[in-house]
Symmetry: C2
Subunit: 158 residues, 2 copies
Amino acid sequence: MDEHRKAELNQILVLFYLAYRTFTDKPDQILSKYHLQRVHHRILFFVGHFPGLTIQQLLTVLEVSKQALHRPLKQLVELGLIRYTPAIHDKRSRLLTLTDAGQALEQELSGGQRQFLDQIFRTAGEGAEEAWVHIMAALSEKRPAFHFVEDLRRNTDE
Amino acid sequence: MDEHRKAELNQILVLFYLAYRTFTDKPDQILSKYHLQRVHHRILFFVGHFPGLTIQQLLTVLEVSKQALHRPLKQLVELGLIRYTPAIHDKRSRLLTLTDAGQALEQELSGGQRQFLDQIFRTAGEGAEEAWVHIMAALSEKRPAFHFVEDLRRNTDE
DNA sequence: GAATTTAGGTCAATTATATTGACTTAATTA
DNA sequence: TAATTAAGTCAATATAATTGACCTAAATTC
């Protein structure tokens, strides 16, 4: 790889870093109002997107330890943002869903991100969204959690 | 926004999350071998990409407090990965550059990221890189650090 | 020239968080 | 019945960030 291309890719690495930070910035500000952190947003988002997720599944997608998830999840339940619904097939599992308040906060946190992306995709040229998604999927697909989430989605869609 | 589009954008949010995690995963593994963290990679990357960066500028792009930067930067200097070169114009400033060992580690950390991106862009369709960059820039451009980095780049190029 | 500001360095206290390991209960599966 | 699994919790340790204070030396401003 020549120096010019390396410099070009470095600018791209900077963009990736800044874009991700910008992306989590507004939600982080909202979270801090409630004394919550990034991990709380992740929990709310995944439970909102995959209603009925179990704790085990949540641990798998977030790739954190059970002990690390314990406190933030407990807080969200105590705040009345997440509730357990009993699982019929396996009474050991606890199915996670958002309460109305949880849905409202999730919307407050992720809604801006969705609108921001939607607006950028709409103003970008034809096929830009597909290209972006293709590249992000290529970046993700070596990851075990990627396939796990794909399987989750397929099961949820049924 | 209808439910279908919301679900579509949620999948995209998942991709963003997973792509970024995948992206920092290998470097994080390498860092842990040296008992270093993400912030050390960021420092090495930005100093490597902008040789002669001052501490103030580094604080601005990383958006951390002086005290938060202090320890990891000190460690990198003590490990012989980063060196101060005296500033002629302002003797208060300390210009940061990578040592040979620092360049080697930076290459080990970011080189894989650059190659990974380069390969994906090459196998993606025509214009995919431009589209991706356009979108990531749109996501970044509201950020003060984005313009700061743009200015830095212009000054470095001169 | 004196006063102020700026770049950088450091210490201490507090707070937050993650990690490892161990242990428990209840339910399911082999 | 025995072994495994989902979930919950405690404790100890280590890591990290944050706030606030204080310091030196160099540069600017008045």
